[in-house]
């Protein structure tokens, strides 16, 4: 009885590992294309799944934010050098009027 339980446990673990391994392995299935930053679906005329579009947008936003940080660090006003804290409007600052 113990041997059977052990066998079931081992086979479950191996299935989990197998599935996990497939999901992360490169060049295997649709998942790989979804996680790729530059999928090739457009070039062959296949319409993008919604998930793929969303992920592409998110990736682009992240890239944009990285670039934004880079540019800011080079082009920011000299007086803003060495800032360690983001400027935040205090809860009760007076707003300016136009």
């Amino acid at each position: 009885m113990r041997k059977i339980r052990l066998l079931i446990l081992l086979s479950t673990i191996s299935i989990v590992l197998l599935v996990g391994g497939c999901a992360t392995a490169p060049g295997v299935d649709e998942r790989e294309r979804i996680s790729s930053p530059e999928p090739s679906t457009q070039s062959i005329g296949v319409s993008e799944p919604d998930e793929l579009k969303t992920e592409k947008l998110e990736t682009k936003e992240l890239l944009l934010e990285d670039r934004e940080l880079e540019v800011d660090s080079h082009d920011a006003a000299p007086s803003a050098d060495g800032l360690h804290k983001k400027p935040e409007r205090q809860s009760d600052d007076m707003e300016r009027l136009d």
Binding site: E65, A76, K85, E88, Q90, D92, D93, M94, R96
Partner: protein, 311 residues
């Protein structure tokens, strides 16, 4: 920024503007119109956030009835700057703002028209004003002092240009008192925002300017004409609290509560503003004047006034 709440009140205050007339004017602007209940609830509730459709219609009507006296190209430039400043995704934002600032400085030196000079300096003042929290929060005292002073100088030049314009302009072309009030409000805001909240009550610069500028009296005058300007009443309450003036605290609090009884709850949060109970600047007023007994007496007084009007 003038809120939709204020604009609805200002429009409604015009002679002959009954609710029926108001709705007819709205229908002229848009076939979709606005539901009467929606319009009325935005008239009554200072915390209500308007949707895009309502905001667009009210802005359009307001601009038609109360045209802005400043050149439209510079008003649009100011809007562009506001969008640029608030855009989180814009790359090299500070560099672009610096370029715009350079252009504005050049223009303001070449310009001869007083209203254009005024608006250019106003925008230059806004740019410096928006840098104040950055330097304050990072403890950059020298830069903070410089940008605060530059912002004040620009707003002061803007005020002087308006006053010079008004001296020579025909009556219908003069710039109204509300615009002068706004520029002076911005000067006071430079003094206030430059100081971390915990130190404001003891800051000599704020107190000195507050007394010298006659801000409290000007706020009361403005509220006599436009009692719906709750942000002015709220700021009046704030500064009366900072200088520990009980009479003025009561005056401005009554102005708020008369506009909406919701302000009787110190936890009430009007649109884009925190509750009075959360603001450090109001501590003295809350501890010494706005007690629960006092709030209850104000409520009774307002209800009596309301009953008196009905009978």
């Amino acid at each position: 920024m003038t809120t939709v709440f204020n604009k609805i009140h200002r429009l409604k205050q015009q002679p002959g503007w009954t609710w029926d007339h108001f709705l007819t004017e709205i229908d002229k602007c848009s076939a979709a119109g606005i539901d009467e209940k929606t319009l009325y609830s935005h008239y009554r509730e200072p915390h209500k956030k308007p949707n895009g459709h309502l905001e667009k219609l009210i802005n359009q009507l307001h601009d038609d009835c109360f045209p802005n006296p400043f050149p439209e190209d510079l008003n649009r430039l100011m809007r562009l700057y506001n969008h640029l400043f608030s855009c989180k995704k814009h790359m090299a934002k500070e560099k672009d703002i610096q370029d715009l600032e350079f252009f504005l400085q050049q223009q303001s030196q070449r310009e001869e028209d007083l209203l254009r000079i005024s608006r250019l300096h106003w925008l230059l003042g806004n740019i410096e004003f928006d840098r104040i929290p950055l330097y304050r929060d990072n403890g950059m005292r020298d830069q903070l002092a410089l940008c605060k002073q530059q912002a004040i100088n620009h707003y002061q030049k803007s005020v002087s240009a308006i006053e010079a314009h008004n001296q020579h302009a025909a009556q219908e072309e003069t710039v109204g008192a509300s615009h002068l009030y706004k520029a002076r409000h911005n000067i006071l805001a430079c003094y206030l925002n430059a100081v971390p909240q915990a130190s404001r009550a003891k800051d000599a610069d704020i107190i000195d300017y507050l007394k010298a500028s006659n801000y409290i009296a000007m706020s009361k005058q403005t509220l006599e004409v436009e009692p719906f300007q709750w942000t002015i009443a709220r700021n009046g309450l704030r500064f009366s609290s900072l200088i520990e003036n009980e009479v003025d605290v009561k005056w401005f609090f009554m102005a708020l509560a008369s506009l909406s009884q919701r302000f009787l709850g110190l936890d009430y949060e009007p649109l884009n503003h925190g509750a009075i109970s959360d603001g450090d600047d109001f501590h003295w007023a809350i501890d010494n004047v706005l007690t629960s007994d006092y709030l209850a007496s104000v409520k009774v007084a307002i209800q009596k006034k309301g009953n008196g009007r009905r009978t």
